[in-house]
């Protein structure tokens, strides 16, 4: 089963403050551990929301809103995707995740399990989603 560790944004990450060597080293070390254990699938940091945008929907109407966005704690600054045998194993790995806050103070990592396509019953929408996936 796959889990995503979602690193929440902070004022610093949103301001584009790059982490110091120490945090870089801790993150690199942790991901190296994941890799050595054969569980790491993918990981990446995200640029500040100032460089992103949102699409808001209201029925058929859609509006594009440029970043940055205010509610920092709801934003995402990075992710790590792992594949493990059990929920507990994901929990154990999550427990070891270094504090991702650039200033070393308050940080947050949210863990979510991925749906496998098999979790959905067969439906036309799912089939079409699969087709889209093939175009990636």
């Amino acid at each position: 089963m796959r889990f995503m560790f979602i690193v929440k944004a902070t004022q610093d990450s949103e301001a584009g403050v790059m982490p110091e060597e120490k945090l870089f080293a801790a993150m690199a070390g942790y991901h190296e551990e994941l890799q050595k254990a054969g569980v790491l699938l993918d990981a990446s940091g995200l640029k500040p929301s100032a460089q992103g945008w949102r699409v808001k929907y209201d029925g058929e109407k859609r509006t594009v809103i440029d970043g940055p966005f205010a509610e920092v704690k709801e934003l995402i600054a990075g992710y790590t995707l792992i594949q493990v045998k059990s929920r507990e194993e994901a929990m154990e790995w999550a427990r070891r995740f270094p504090n991702p806050a650039v200033d070393g103070k308050e940080g947050e990592v949210e863990v979510r399990q991925l749906f496998e396509l098999e979790d959905f019953g067969p439906s036309e929408a799912v089939e079409r989603f699969r087709e889209m996936e093939a175009l990636k």
Binding site: K36, G38, E88, E92, W93, E116, R130
Partner: protein, 421 residues
């Protein structure tokens, strides 16, 4: 923490830490059987302690410290015994041995220990079944029960295999080390073979009612990824990882709604896992960058990559696949590779060209009971409109396979050929 919850948490720690633990201990005590016993003692201690105290911040270090204490006790006790029974001259030797491997050695990087453990578990003195069982147990962190379930064999059989394997290693005095120089290549092949064997057992279950056992594929992939981290400069390790990642990317697509196999060209490519394909292609690129494009695993991965890159079956570069099989046949001559080449040639240049190659293989003793030979031959005959012969070949293929799902598929194709007659 509720007891059941604590036990599940400890299981998870065990899965993460057990290989490193056993590897570190094996270097201390020079016996992987004893190392596993010590690690297991530490696990039992954790099961007693942690539900009360909670899982410590660094559970790996806790387990190692606990196991190490026991190891030192044991070594001291043994030394005392030796002192009583042995002559003075021998005693000196024992003491030297004690001083050498045990305490100072803990500074070694963990990775080296894991590599030693892998090479020892896959040592050629062991049968391939024993290597597989030992590797899954010591490196994959699987329990005897899990291994038994995965391979559909009774648990006592697995337990016995593991006990015997450890005894064989001790008896043969297999050193706990990473082979060097000329030996490394051959020993590495033995390791890769074990990993791929596990993968294949999951990917095309050779027996039983399931066409695939995905958990085994995941275990093998995990072992392969670990190995790639430990031996990053070995191109064939990346080649094997590439092959497994790309093949695993098709897992969901190769099983139909009622569990029946779906052949590569009939698969819904939208269901391929593109993350795994991307990882596989990256691993293949690494193998090639290390000068390993001509390795047997890298070549097979390159073939799998041809399929992965084709958005639709008709986009497949069959000429290139046929050429890659040709190269593979040249470095590892095998009638099975030749049979695969025949399929690619048939796709590239028509069924008659493929059949010409297949017909040179029908007297091959190695393929006498191999179901894919009549299966491929039957397919080509269907395409050539020689339906009577085709039906006979497909029925023969069905009678040879041990996989129930595959048998059904072959019989259905034979019946279809009969209807067209």
């Amino acid at each position: 923490m509720a007891a059941a919850e604590a036990h599940r948490a400890i299981d998870a720690v065990w899965r993460i830490e057990s290989a490193r633990l056993i590897a570190g201990l094996a270097r201390m005590v020079r016996d992987i059987g004893l190392a596993e016993d010590l690690a297991h003692d530490a696990l039992v201690a954790a099961l007693e302690r942690w539900p009360e105290s909670g899982v410590p911040d660094n559970p790996g270090a806790w387990l190692m410290a606990t196991a190490k204490h026991r190891a030192i006790d044991l070594l001291r006790r043994n030394t005392r015994l030796e002192r009583k029974h042995e002559e003075l001259g021998h005693e000196l030797e024992v003491q030297q041995e004690m001083a050498g491997p045990d305490l100072d050695a803990m500074d070694d990087p963990v990775g080296d220990d894991l590599l030693r453990l892998i090479f020892t578990a896959c040592h050629p003195v062991l049968s391939s079944e024993a290597r597989v069982a030992l590797t899954l147990r010591l490196l994959g962190g699987l329990t005897t029960e899990e291994i038994a379930r995965a391979f559909l064999i009774p648990e006592p059989t697995v337990a016995q295999r593991i006990v015997r394997a450890k005894r064989t290693l001790a008896k043969a005095q297999v050193p706990f080390e990473v082979p060097r120089g000329a030996e490394l290549g051959a020993r590495l092949s033995s390791v890769l073979e074990v990993v791929y064997l596990v993968f294949n057992e999951g990917y095309t279950a050779t027996a039983g009612d399931d066409w695939m056992r995905p958990a085994l594929c995941e275990d093998a992939l995990r072992l392969g990824r670990i190995l790639a981290g430990l031996a990053p400069r070995e191109p064939e390790v990346h080649g094997l990882v590439a092959l497994m990642e790309i093949q695993a990317s098709r897992s969901h697509a190769r099983v139909g709604p009622s569990g029946e196999p779906v052949l590569l060209l009939d698969q819904d490519r939208a269901r391929w896992d593109h993350l795994l394909i991307r990882r596989g292609l990256a691993a293949l690129a690494r193998a090639e960058a290390l000068g390993g494009a001509r390795g047997p695993y890298a070549l097979q991965a390159a073939i799998a990559a041809c399929h992965a890159r084709a958005r639709a079956p008709e986009d497949t570069d069959w000429e290139r696949i046929a050429a890659l099989y040709g190269e593979l046949a040249w470095i590892t001559p095998s009638p099975i590779v030749e049979l695969n080449r025949a399929v690619a040639v048939a796709m590239a240049r028509g069924p008659a060209a493929g059949l010409e190659i297949v017909d040179t293989l029908t007297s091959e003793p190695l393929l006498q009971d191999y179901h894919l030979l009549p299966s491929v031959r039957g397919d080509l005959l269907v395409k050539l409109g020689r339906l009577d012969e085709a039906r006979a070949e497909l029925e023969r293929a069905a009678s040879l396979t041990r996989n129930a799902r595959e048998r059904e598929l072959l019989l259905a194709r034979a019946a279809a050929a009969r209807e067209e007659i």
